[in-house]
Amino acid sequence: MTTFRDIESRLRAARPDAEAPAPPREVVLARIEQASTAPRKRRSWRRRGVGLPIAVGTVVLAAASAGGALLLAPGKPVAPELVLPATPETGLGEPVGASLELLPMRVGDPEGGAPWGMRVIRTTRGLLCLQAGRVVDGALGGLGIGYAFGGDGRFHPFLPADAIATDSCPAVGANGAPFLPGPPVIVPANALPLAGENVSQADQNHCDLPGQQNWGVRCPQAELRQVAMGLLGREAKSIRVTTPDSSFTVSPYGPDGAYLIVLPAQPNANASMSSGAYEGPFGNVSHAAGGAVLTVTYSDGSHCQIPATGPSRQCHAHEQGSTGAQLPSSAQLSSAVHVSYLPRVEHPVAPLLMDDAAGGTFAGRGEQSGEAAPGPALTVSFKAPVRVENASSAYVVELEPRPVSRCATPAVIVSQPTDQTLQAGASVQIAVSLESPCATTYSGRVFLASSSSVGGESGGEGPLYEAIAAKFGPPSSGQGAASFPTVGRFDISVP
């Protein structure tokens, strides 16, 4: 019989050693000082679900403000809770405030009240982000109902910075057309899926959305909605929304083919589990079984599904010239590439992809939090031949080791893409972790990857990652995988 005392002793004995020093005080204070003077901040923890680019809706109401909204008294804004320093030239970039636009479409809530709407905002790194919420007096925000804001019944507007979230920022391609086929997800009627984090620290009215297990209290079914929003492009002509009980058709809105669909949550959604990869306290709270399916029809008569039941049914951008049309040729990109071997790197960044000869994932040393285990690496250096000006293009290194008998080697290793704006002529250095300790020769190349309006369920890294993965994945994984132009090639033997 195990006693509580046994468990306590065992837990205490299992406590890992943690003797590494914290970062130097001066380094952290410098970051804080820098952040204190930065003009904009990007939130790190987002209201997942509402921030997600999704699909569908019941009825698209007329533009302009809807009634009901005016009955709500204003409350305090939904402040970005936890923010990171602004980085206008890295990652997603900073939001460009002047580009914030509340789209005129309004969608009724199943139980009435303030309608739902969506807004877009562009970033300094060329992305366009979507966000949905309730609309009152021409502003987007959440409602103080259910657990949020202590149920004060007021309207709480979102701040402009809140529109940025990695899951809801499709790339804008060379033709300026964004694309993001967002699936239906479960969000609360108050439009504040992560209110437990953002607004309810002082409340005792928490409840768990599907997949959350913070408080042990399921949100009432009546407080949940199925919401989908996204951008399908001008060629999308109609969206058929099918639920187990009914189906109806809506028309995408505007030149970007925007859609916003709000439905009652499917039965027992409040007891469903998340489909997310990480079941964290504020993790992927949005998915539940038995949700609506959207069938998109394009002007050329083709169809696709959101969410797709197979690769052949996935939605892809239909814009003319939207796939890699603006990429320079390899001749224009030619640049000298230098490579060096490092026998051991303590904290290498894990490669983006590493495949075995059969196209599966090579069983390497493993990774945690994006970091590979210590081991050998290559450092690849070159001058950027052309400017990389947005989050839709990046330089990447591809390695092909020569097979070695009786020593497992991956068939291909693809580095993480560069993650910042680069001027032409800038020095670029990319480190690639080598998963095999075998002595062999690596043939490599540096290429310029680009994703033009080919977004999708891109996870946190944006459509560019999707485009790169599609090129190196199995044939069924990508449609029309891009051919990326080469900057330079190299060979290196490692001991």
């Binding site: 914290a22 923010v83 997949g211 306290p281 369920e457 891109s458």
Partner: protein, 179 residues
């Protein structure tokens, strides 16, 4: 930022950065722990008006969310890769203990129950402080701790100390489902 504010956040860092670093390091690799520690004090500075007098539990709460975000980033990368191969994805490991049976049992607890236990036994917070870190009431925390210990005992006894027993409680295990 004026010099008083800088001194105040510097003092906070002097007082608690090692504890926050240890907290993060027990749950991640060193580089992640360093980044999380820096983020925690950035957030503390931004929200300095909301900092309680007993700041450490509050800082642990921020660190917990920062770590979650870091793990989600890794999971998204993995999901992207695996989705291309139609393979179900599991969360990356958050803990690696020498006592593998205990690790297995602890990882089968819900996130918040696990965190309640570890804040209490590893970071040595009092239950009232754990409640602050987790953003719940003391009464709720007391129930959580009791429940977590009971579940842990069940898991350990049910497994018989063996690693890899796949007896799942479907109410607490993440799984892949279509929408």
């Amino acid at each position: 930022m004026d010099s008083d504010q800088l001194r105040a956040v510097g003092a906070l860092y002097e007082r608690h950065s090692d504890a926050v670093m240890r907290y993060a390091l027990r749950r991640s690799d060193r580089e992640t722990a360093e980044e999380v520690t820096a983020q925690v004090f950035l957030v503390a500075w931004r929200r300095r008006s909301a900092l309680p007098d007993d700041a450490l539990p509050w800082l642990y709460g921020v660190a917990r969310r920062a770590l979650s975000e870091q793990r989600r980033g890794a999971a998204r990368r993995k999901r992207l890769h695996e989705r291309l191969r139609s393979v179900a994805v599991e969360a990356p490991p958050a803990l690696e203990l020498r006592d593998r049976a205990l690790e297995h049992a602890v990882m089968r607890l819900s996130d918040v129950d696990r965190e309640a236990l570890l804040l209490h036994y590893w970071e040595e917070l009092e239950p009232a402080q754990v409640a602050v870190a987790l953003g719940c009431s003391r009464a709720t925390l007391a129930v959580r701790l009791h429940r977590a210990r009971a579940r842990l005992r069940r898991e350990l006894e049910g497994d018989g100390g063996q690693v890899g027993n796949e007896k799942h409680d479907s109410s607490r295990v993440s799984r892949t489902e279509p929408v």
